[in-house]
């Protein structure tokens, strides 16, 4: 049971990094990024490929983040000229391009089979109890660092301008500032962060496959952000935790409802999570952490 809780805590910590990145992009800036998982996938595969070829772990993290940031840059140039809804579709398309490219590029990525045998982090610690604990500690520290950086950004002159962009982009332009510069930077920071989350994920799970980077992941992160409270940094953390509790909690449904068949149960789990989200948006649209406003 402890091992199970520890595993959940590690997943929460990994996905919180993604939620924090999305919150910067959508919550604080209003960028409808539906392609989050693409950057996550870039990080996961960069780490998987490099470390299974004998490169150090750090190289995987760095290469993943760098690639994701570089991939975000042209989106900044091209896609940011699109209106909100088209931008959302373009980013969704991009993440699918990443996935299909991974499936097709068999030599490097092994296609649909995926890459197994990715070394665990801190594997020098032979102990099965201390290794995950140390990983969790590192993840918590990373999240804390990211939260501090996000707060610094949100309360800064930069944060003021991205908040202004979220509220009215035309007016920002009318005042002599180029929204595209700010949006590109926000996109790049979020992309790098998503890639780091992907690297952690690859090392923790130990293998990567294209199935892990479907748009479903993106939308789960969206759910986490909305549950926590869009635009609230603390909400990103709590929302991810709540979502994971819902998803994992639904695992115990079979014990409560033994008369439901196991195939129906799989669908019921998705239903429970969806129902929770609907109830949340109806009765608490501002999310756990309150006001849709800012900070």
């Amino acid at each position: 049971m402890e091992a199970y809780l520890l595993a959940i805590a590690i997943f929460v910590a990994i996905f919180t990094l993604l939620t924090l990145g999305l919150n910067l992009q959508y919550g604080l800036t209003g960028l409808t990024n539906f392609g989050l998982v693409g950057f996550f996938g870039i990080g996961a595969y960069a780490s998987a490929i490099l470390t299974t070829h004998g490169y150090p772990v750090v190289a995987g993290f760095a290469a993943g983040a760098a690639l994701a940031v570089i991939a975000a840059w042209p989106i900044g140039l091209v896609a940011l000229r699109l209106r909100d809804d088209y931008f959302a579709i373009a980013t969704l398309g991009l993440s699918e391009v990443v996935r299909v490219a991974i499936i097709s590029e068999k030599e490097l990525t092994a296609g649909v089979q995926g890459i197994p045998g990715i070394p665990r982090l801190f594997a020098v610690l032979e102990s099965r109890t201390w290794q995950p604990l140390l990983l969790l500690a590192v993840l918590v520290a990373a999240n804390l660092g990211v939260v501090l950086v996000m707060r610094r950004i949100a309360r800064s002159p930069f944060g003021r301008v991205i908040g202004a962009i979220r509220d009215n982009e035309e007016a920002v332009r009318a005042l002599g500032k180029d929204p595209a510069r700010f949006k590109t930077q926000v996109l790049m920071v979020g992309a790098g962060l998503s890639a780091v989350a992907g690297s952690f994920y690859a090392h923790y799970v130990g293998y990567v496959t294209p199935d892990q980077i479907t748009p479903l992941v993106t939308f789960q992160i969206w759910m986490a952000m909305i549950l926590g409270g869009t635009g609230r940094i603390s909400g990103a953390v709590l929302g991810t935790l709540l979502l994971m509790l819902l998803i994992e909690g639904a695992r115990f449904l079979p014990d409560l409802l033994p008369f439901v068949s196991s195939t129906a149960m799989a669908e019921l789990r998705v239903f429970v999570v969806g129902l929770a989200l609907v109830l949340f948006t109806v009765y608490r649209p501002q999310g756990l952490m309150g006001e849709v406003a800012r900070r």
């Binding site: 002159p157 908040g163 035309e170 332009r173 009318a174 005042l175 002599g176």
Partner: protein, 252 residues
């Protein structure tokens, strides 16, 4: 800083919403623009500030052409507009609305934010003092901490004016600054515009409240169905039969 508008044309299909319009807002001028609904006044503002591209014609500021520049660049050169329907940053406080408009803040780049925190802090303190003065000047100091989305229509108009001033604009285009504003506040806004004009800031003002506008401006231009039909001192323009015709429903 004089703004020259020269032979601007903008058509949507067969309809010329701006039809060969030319006039000048002299440096430090106070010029009004009137016309019935649909005459093309707001379109003209968008053409002048670069939000729309004209089919032909040009706009220049102090003799320098603006034709190849976008709205942000025009604003940086000192030409700033407000909007007919206020576009306040609704979730930002009034103070933050004004602070967000100030140009050249180091803290607006991520690099400086994390590498030069001392400089960012000093700039913020200086900017905050300037914004306090601006809010006092516009009598917005009592709502400094209120999200701008919660303000009255008239206060939003003042926030937009304040933002334009914070950019350091030398020519400001006001789109219906009195619309939906109570009479007391109209006089208040007029008084501020006069004071700013006395300090050398030029204004071009679209307004339907002809009485208040003619008290404010020294020159009035009239736009009807895309064309300028009159221009000159307000009293003379308002007495012009062609202008009265245009306003009485344009039965011609």
């Amino acid at each position: 800083m004089s703004l020259e508008i020269s032979r601007l044309v903008k058509a949507y299909g067969p309809i010329r919403v701006t039809d060969d319009v030319s006039f000048t807002v002299p440096a430090g001028g106070l010029v009004g623009l009137i016309g019935p609904n649909g005459a093309g006044k707001s379109t003209l503002f968008s053409l002048v500030t670069g939000f729309l591209a004209p089919d032909s014609g040009s706009v220049s500021l102090d003799g320098r052409s603006l034709d190849r520049t976008g709205p942000a660049e025009r604003a940086r050169r000192g030409l700033v507009r407000t909007f007919q329907v206020p576009r306040e940053f609704s979730h930002l406080t009034v103070r933050d609305n004004l602070m967000a408009a100030a140009p050249g803040q180091a803290g607006e780049t991520l690099g400086a934010l994390f590498l030069l925190p001392g400089r960012v802090r000093r700039e913020e303190e200086a900017l905050r003092r300037r914004v306090e003065e601006m809010m006092a000047f516009l009598k917005l100091d009592r709502v400094a901490e209120v999200p701008a989305g919660n303000l009255s229509g008239g206060q939003k108009k003042l926030v937009e004016l304040g933002r334009a001033l914070m950019t350091g604009a030398r020519t400001i285009l006001l789109d219906e600054p009195f619309a939906g504003v109570n009479p007391v506040l109209i006089e208040e806004i007029s008084a501020r515009v006069r004071e700013l004009n006395a300090r050398g800031i030029g204004f071009l003002v679209i307004e339907h409240d002809l009485a208040a506008l003619s008290r404010l401006v020294t020159t009035l231009h009239v736009l009807d169905r895309g064309r300028l039909i009159a221009g000159g001192p307000p009293a003379a323009v308002l007495a012009d039969p062609a202008v009265r015709d245009a306003y009485l429903g344009g039965a011609s």
